[in-house]
């Protein structure tokens, strides 16, 4: 123990030593300039005592005071304060409460890190996506903000007789996000949602995204055991499946936590493969890439209306939502039935026209109805290839080896959550996703 000082002595004497030293300066009037000797003497404590003077006052050795003082000063020292200067000057001044007090991204907790650790993109592929512009800075909720600003009164969603414009959607998302934040949802953590084909589910997911969190999109009517397994793997911080969702059109709070980044995980999709359900992790970038690729291939624009049926947890309706967000097209939610897995786009003179697009899991489209276009999409990659024979969508690559068709590309998922050891196929395997 240096100089015979114990931790308890530090705790005992540090406040007094800290106060008596130079750390807090107090001056009354202008005594030195006026050579007011009485006033100078009266406020010697305010200008700071030497270690020797403090030692005499407290009955300690000077070395002990120096040691305790230096330790106390180090313990109150905040290294991160200096970052505030990086945003100041050139016309900008600090103002109390302007957000500079908490610079940088908030730390992710251990649970959020588990989600991060499930992400396994191939580095070469990522460099390619960035170079080709297949991945960018777009986020799902960022699309909503942009639409709300550019075209606030235009209808974004329709479900039965209910229509919601972009401005209202944006407001509801902010409101829901604020409530989720109040309930404790943190950046990077998972929140589970009953992904019905209803506006409330859309708002809930986008609100989760607005907080930088991840939505576990669960299909309605899911078997109890399967749902339990999904929840056990995702370990949601908040479970909204048991909560009736009611949105508010009131003005949302002005201050919201920082939004998610494009590279952040944003959705967990349930992939059923006969055994335990697996959870495919997607980022804003993988979902945006799927939407952009399909919108380009089908020439869907803001004048289109996309009709989707089925749960938002399933690729067809989920793709329809993403297409609507990416293009500004109107989304008509036709209900939760999964009997007809299709989405229809109509309006602008695109490839679809009045055609019906049937989404099928396996890449075999030999028996499509007349006028339909087959899309190979699955939870691990929502938009892989179109038609028969298959044509890879922009940003995707197909490979056939030994009768197995594999695909990889910009809309490929980030990894499986909660699988130990890591899944043998998928992002860990150079980004290749095998069919079957």
């Amino acid at each position: 123990m240096p100089h015979g000082v114990t931790e308890r002595m530090i705790r005992t004497y540090a406040p007094a030593i800290f106060e008596l030293g130079l750390n807090i300066q107090r001056r009354k009037g202008d005594a030195v300039r006026k050579l007011d000797w009485a006033a100078i003497a009266a406020q010697r404590d305010g200008t700071g005592r030497t270690d020797a003077e403090i030692a005499e006052r407290l009955g300690l050795a000077e070395e002990q005071v120096t040691f305790i003082r230096v330790v106390a000063e180090r313990r109150v020292f905040r290294r991160d304060q200096y970052r505030k200067l990086f945003g100041l000057g050139a016309g900008k001044r600090y103002r109390a409460g302007d957000g500079l007090a908490a610079p940088g991204l908030p730390e992710l907790d251990a649970e959020a890190m588990l989600v991060r650790q499930a992400m396994h993109f191939d580095p070469e592929q990522v460099a390619h996506f960035a170079a080709e512009g297949l991945w960018g800075g777009e986020t799902l909720e960022g699309w909503v903000r942009a639409r709300a600003k550019a075209d606030p009164q235009r209808v974004a969603l329709k479900a039965g007789s209910v229509s919601i414009d972009w401005q209202t959607l944006d407001r509801r998302v902010s409101h829901r996000a604020a409530r989720l934040a109040e309930a404790g949802l943190e950046r990077g953590r998972v929140a589970s949602v009953e992904a019905t084909a209803a506006p409330e589910a859309v708002v809930a997911w986008l609100a989760i995204a607005r907080l930088g969190a991840v939505a576990l999109l669960l299909p309605p009517g899911q078997a109890m055991l399967e749902r339990r397994l999904c929840l056990a793997k995702a370990r949601p911080q908040i479970d909204l499946t048991a909560t009736p969702l009611a949105d508010s059109d009131a003005e949302p709070p002005l201050i919201l936590p920082r939004s998610g980044l494009a590279s952040d995980p944003v959705a967990l999709l349930v992939a059923e493969g006969g055994g335990e359900p697996k959870l495919a992790l997607h980022t804003h970038q993988t979902l945006a890439a799927a939407a952009r690729a399909l919108a380009g291939a089908l020439t869907i624009g803001s004048g289109d209306t996309i009709t989707a049926s089925g749960s938002l947890a399933q690729p067809p309706a989920l793709l329809a939502l993403l297409l609507a967000l990416a293009t500004g097209a109107r989304l008509d939610l036709a209900g939760d039935t999964q009997s007809s897995w299709h989405l229809t786009a109509a309006g602008e003179a695109g490839v679809l026209g009045q055609a019906r697009l049937v989404v099928v899991g396996p890449p075999s489209f030999e028996s499509l109805p007349a006028g339909a276009i087959g899309l190979w999409g699955r939870p691990e990659a929502l938009a892989i290839a179109l038609g028969h024979p298959l044509v890879a969508l922009p940003g995707m690559t197909l490979r056939q080896e030994g009768g197995v068709i594999s695909a990889r590309g910009a809309c490929g998922f980030a990894g499986w959550l909660g699988e130990m050891p890591a899944a043998p196929v998928g992002p860990a395997d150079g980004g290749w996703i095998a069919h079957g």
Binding site: Q25, G89, R93
Partner: protein, 306 residues
């Protein structure tokens, strides 16, 4: 010939002023060492460094350009100060005094007392300058202000010469009328309001003069000194929970930026913050606060004298 001109110490004082002004200083004042000893804490007066010191010569050099004041805080942390010219003027003066008058003289190291860590200076250059009449304490953590030049950087020379002393300023330019007005309206002066760590507080009296100045120096030090940063980085690196955390702490942008300053000795500082001074009307609005105007005035005066 006047009595003053006959006095060799008065002649020396005039020569000293001429010398430091020719070396880039704009203000110079002298105070007797005993007066400083009377106010400085025991062991931190001039005689602790030069036992036979009789006089303290305080020197002020100007700060940065108007463009620098208008730039980002990042830029100011590198080039906002004027430590270099202080060395040139004050260090040179100590040699000038010994060479010209044969009297022991000492450039006061503007550094910490290594016996007490990094927060205790060897001398208070501020006290020297204030007593010598080339600055007055402001509400901004007692930073000295000069009514003509605004913010100056100070250096000191101790000498065994018994030079005629100057007096402290008759009035204090702080607070300025604009600051009094803001204080009356909002309860804070600009320096208090815009400090990024909110380390300044205090009050004005009915006459608009300083009633009390309070500065949480330990907060200001987080922006202006950062002497604990090195040890803090090493400590945090040792206890980092993961290898990635350790890499970020020891080799991340913050550590690299800090080590760049320490190893390159930029401005001889680890850190600087000018936000209180940037908001100060005296600093930015004093008649000769701008070094360019200051130089023009100096040349004009020299021409008129010639």
């Amino acid at each position: 010939m006047t009595a003053q001109a006959d006095n060799p110490m008065e002649q020396a004082k005039a020569a000293i002023k001429a010398y430091v002004l020719s070396r880039g200083a704009v203000a110079v004042g002298i105070i007797d060492a005993d007066t400083v000893e009377r106010i400085a804490p025991p062991g931190f007066g001039p005689k602790a460094l030069l036992p036979q010191a009789r006089s303290v010569i305080a020197i002020g050099v100007p700060g940065c350009t108007r463009g620098t004041w208008r730039s980002t805080a990042k830029v100011m942390t590198f080039i906002g100060n004027s430590v270099g010219p202080i060395y040139r003027a004050a260090f040179g003066l100590s040699f000038f005094l010994e060479q010209t008058y044969g009297q022991p003289s000492l450039f006061v190291p503007p550094h910490i007392d290594p016996e007490y860590g990094n927060r205790i200076p060897l001398q208070s250059l501020k006290l020297h300058a204030e007593l010598a009449g080339i600055g007055a304490r402001s509400l901004a953590g007692d930073i000295l202000l000069h009514p003509e030049f605004g913010l100056l950087y100070y250096g000191s020379v101790l000498t065994e010469m018994d030079l005629p002393p100057d007096r402290p300023m008759d009035s204090n330019p702080c607070p300025s009328p604009a600051c009094v007005k803001l204080y009356r309206a909002e309860g804070q002066t600009p320096c208090q309001k815009f400090c990024p760590v909110e380390c300044l507080s205090g009050s004005l009296d009915e006459a608009g003069q300083i009633d009390e100045m309070v500065c949480d120096m330990y907060r200001c030090a987080e922006m202006c000194q950062r002497y604990e940063t090195m040890g803090d980085l090493i400590h945090d690196g040792i206890v980092a929970p993961t290898e990635l955390d350790r890499e970020e702490i020891l080799y991340g942008a913050e550590a690299q930026g800090f080590l760049y300053r320490v190893t390159s000795g930029i401005g001889a500082t680890h850190a600087q913050c000018f936000e209180c001074m940037r908001a100060c009307p005296v600093v930015t609005g004093a008649p000769l606060a701008d070094p360019i105007r200051m130089g023009e005035a100096k040349r004009k005066a020299a021409k008129a004298k010639a």
